[in-house]
Structures are given as C-alpha cells and as structure tokens.
C-alpha cells in the first residue's frame, strides 16, 4: 500500500512539476485572493480594544485559510483532471495498485502542493496584512495538521466527482461543507499562534489532527468503492 502510494504521489508531483499549472496558475490565484480581501476590507479600520490592531490584521488568520481553501479546490480538481483522460483511474487499478495506495498517494501529492502554497500565500499574508508570529511551533503543527486534513478529506470528496462533466460545480458543493470544521479549527488555532495564548491553539491543533486521521482512515477504507466502476 505504501509503495503504491509513493509511486502515485511521485507520478502526480512529476506531472505538476513539468506542467507548471500549480506554480503558474494556482499560486498566483491564492495571492490574488489575498489582495482581493484587502480591497474588500478597508486596511485603515482599527479594532477597538484589541491592541490597536487593524481589522485586516485581526481577521488575517481567517483570510489566509480562506485563500488556502479556495486554492485547494483548484488543486483538488487538478488532481483528478490529470486522471480524466483515457480512463486513467481504471488503468491505475489494472496496473495492480491498491485503491488505498492510490488514495494515500494522491493525498500526499496534494499535501505537498498545499504546503508549498501555504508557505507562499502565508508569507504574502504576513507582509500584506502586517501580522507577526508569536508561537512558531504551534503554527507549524497547525499548518501540518490542517494540510493533512484538507488533502485527505478533499481527495476523498473530489473522487466523488471524478470523471464527470459537472465535476467543477459539484466538487466545491461537496467539499466545502465537509471542510467547514477544518476552516474553523485552523483559524482559531492560527489566531492563537498570532495573537493569543498558545493553550487554546493546542486543543484546536489536536482536533485538526484527529480530523485528518479520521478522514485518512475513511479514505483508505472507502476509496475502493469509488474507484470500482461497473
């Protein structure tokens, strides 16, 4: 299973590396969303009683994760778009790869892509919104657990739309409600890492870790039922 996962992940990442869709289209999109949030929320407004933080800085964790979430939708769609031609998903099965391995491999590839995205978009958010990091360790743990949660649950749900003409409209409808708790947890934990007490953040990081484990388990068990077409 793990060998299959490594092969699939390496294949997906090689495709992304050579096609440059991620770096040329998804990364700029994430950055664009950050700038648009800045347009929408006036940067001059100051929040009362919160150490004189601007509104933009105060909500920067939420804006950062929303930008990541929207970009993740593109990355997830991309992960199955590259399999759409020539019945590729069937071919992977015929090649003797286990469905659980395919699931883990695609999850790992998307996780790596999201990690790159988070570093770039996150740096942009720090610069544009003027936030500073107080608890580095918490932030790194939150980034890792959230990335796993987004990619694990995301791949499982994106597979539901694989190979369909309505994929682009269906997958966001399915994925976003599922990822709502992840957005909630990641935002609270990041707020703690930037502004507040780390203790609150750690309990949310635990929640994110549990969520990602649950969905990785569900994906390993259920992915076969999705791949096995009649």
């Amino acid at each position: 299973m793990l060998r299959d996962a490594r092969l699939v992940a390496a294949k997906d990442l090689r495709i992304e590396w050579s096609s440059k869709v991620l770096t040329a289209q998804v990364l700029p999109f994430g950055f664009l969303v950050l700038i648009l949030f800045g347009f929408g929320i006036s940067p001059e407004r100051i929040v009362q009683g919160k150490d004189g933080r601007s509104v933009l800085e105060d909500v920067s964790p939420a804006l950062f994760w929303l930008a990541v979430l929207f970009s993740a939708l593109l990355a997830l769609g991309r992960s199955f778009a590259i399999e759409a031609d020539d019945g590729n998903l069937d071919a992977l099965q015929l090649a003797g790869l286990e469905p659980a391995g395919v699931f883990l491999g695609k999850t790992a590839a998307v996780a790596v892509e999201l990690a790159v995205l988070e570093v770039v978009v996150g740096s942009g958010a720090l610069l544009l919104y003027g936030a500073t990091i107080r608890h580095w360790l918490l932030l790194i743990v939150v980034l890792v657990t959230t990335t796993l949660a987004l990619s694990g649950a995301g791949i499982l749900y994106a597979a539901l739309g694989a190979g369909l003409r309505v994929r682009d409209t269906l997958v966001p409808l399915l994925v976003l409600p599922v990822l709502a708790p992840v957005l909630l947890g990641a935002t609270r934990a990041t707020e703690a890492a930037l502004f507040g007490a780390a203790a609150d953040g750690w309990s949310w990081a635990g929640f994110l870790g549990a969520f990602s484990l649950l969905y990785l388990g569900a994906g390993i068990l259920l992915f076969g039922a999705l791949l096995e077409e009649s």
């Binding site: 309505v166 409808l173 599922v178 039922a225 096995e228």
Partner: protein, 276 residues
C-alpha cells in the same frame, strides 16, 4: 415472450430478492393499504396538533404565544436529524456491503424527505428566533451545524441525480451518505467547542419544563411529523423503485429486440448456427 410477461416482470431476470417486500405485480400506484392508514393518522394527528397547539394549550409564561412553534419545530428537527439521516446512513452501509437496491433507494428517499424537513427546521427555527432572541439568526452551535448539514445533504442529493452509470452513482452516493453522517457529528462538536471557548451557551429555547397540555401537544406534533415523514418516504421509495424497474425493463426489451432482429437476419440468410 409476450409484452405482458415483460410488464409483470416474470421474465425480467429480476429475482424475488430484488423486489420490495410486499411487492405485487403489476404496481399501478405508489399507494398501499399501509400508506393509506399512515396518511389518515397523519391527517388526524396534524389536525389535532393544530387544535391543541394553536387553541387549547396555554401560552407560555415567558414566551407567550411564540412557544406554539415548539410543537412544530422540535418534531420536525427530531425527524430530520435523528431519523431521516440515520436511515440514509444504514441504507448506505448495507448498499456498500451487499449492493442491495432496496436499501440504496430507501437511503435516497429518506435523504430527500429529510432535506425538506431540515429546511423546515431552519425556517421554523428562524421564525421562532425572531420574537424570542430578537434576530432571525444567531451563530449558535446548533444553528450553525444544522445549516452545514443542510448543505451537506443537498450535495448528497446532487450526487444521486448525476447523469452517470447507476451502479457507480449509487456507490458514490453511499460513500457520501456514510461520511456525510460522520461529518455532521464532527461539525456539531466543533462548532459547540468554538462557542464554548468564548462564552457559555446562552440560548436555551425552552428552559421552562413542559407538562400537561403542552406536553400532549408536543406528542401530537411528534406523531404528526413522524407519520407525514413515513408517508412521504414510502411514496418516494415506491416511485424510485418503479423508476428502477422501468429502466431495467427498457434494457431487457431492447436486448430482446436486438436478439430477435439478429435471429431473423440469420434465418433469412440461411446461416443458422451449426448450419452451412
């Protein structure tokens, strides 16, 4: 083989296990003895609930007349959240395990009616919230998680309506029915955790204990909503079942037609199997 044989399913290749329990061929309506009885119960209990809920039961000490929404709102919510989606979960699990068409269609029917009930839960809740809390919407854990579940099951229904191979579609829907239920629970806990980090639950719609006439009106509401739900799900299920059979028969008829065409062609050319 005659058209009648095809229509009554006697030669369709569907085994008895494929049929709904109590199946009698041919079905001409989605109604039955059971749905008629349940329908009468639904009508009577709804009328009784309206009479007791709106007229006979007293107004609440604190909430006044707005408490009367309780007799509708809570039963609707219980049926949607605890009954409908549990049926969908069970049906999805059984379908994935043994491929049962019965449970697949039942899961779909329960989810479809459940989404309507969940929508009614949101609407009646908002109407109740306005006089009680002063606003239609509060970011209360219950409200937030209900809204997210509503969207989740809309997604489930969207998958059931996809234009694709029915067997693969049923499997995808079943996966969604299982994981969606788990996610509903996660959403519920995460949002109550989210609020509890800030403040305690300040919104308790009914902190006074209910008794007597109010309790009776509530029980009537529960019977009314349960029977309406059962009635709708039974009809919806039978409709889905008939659609399923029509599709199967169309395929069967098309195959027969092709086969007879082929046989006619072979006979004409004198190339019967084994001959020439």
């Amino acid at each position: 083989m005659t058209a009648d044989q095809i229509a009554d399913g006697s030669s369709s290749g569907l085994s008895v296990e494929d049929r709904a329990p109590g199946y009698k061929a041919p079905i001409l309506s989605t109604g039955s003895e059971a749905t008629r009885v349940i329908g009468v119960i639904a009508l009577l209990s709804t009328a009784a609930m309206l009479a007791f809920g709106l007229l006979i039961s007293p107004p609440d000490l604190f909430q006044g007349d707005s408490v009367r929404l309780f007799y509708l709102h809570v039963p609707v919510a219980i049926v949607a959240l605890y009954l409908a989606f549990t049926i969908t979960l069970i049906g999805s699990v059984i379908h994935l395990v043994n491929g049962s068409t019965f449970w697949d269609l039942l899961a779909g029917a329960a989810a479809e009616v459940g989404v309507v009930f969940l929508g009614l839960t949101l609407v009646t809740g908002m109407l109740w919230g306005r006089p009680t809390w002063g606003s239609y919407w509060e970011w209360d854990p219950r409200l937030t998680s209900t809204a997210v579940s509503f969207v989740l099951y809309l997604g489930y229904l969207a998958v059931r309506k996809l234009d694709m191979d029915p067997a693969a579609r049923s499997r995808r829907a079943a996966v969604l029915g299982i994981v969606g239920f788990a996610n509903t629970i996660i959403v519920k806990y995460s949002v109550s955790w989210w609020r509890s980090l800030h403040q305690g639950s300040t919104l308790k719609p009914l902190d006074s204990q209910i008794e007597g006439l109010m309790m009776f009106s509530f029980a009537l509401g529960l019977v009314s909503m349960l029977s309406i739900f059962a009635w709708l799900v039974m009809h919806r299920f039978r409709l889905a079942w008939l659609q399923h059979r029509v599709d199967a028969h169309r395929l069967e008829a098309a195959l027969l037609e092709r086969r007879s065409e082929g046989e006619a062609g072979i006979a004409k050319s004198g190339l019967a199997p084994g001959g020439a």
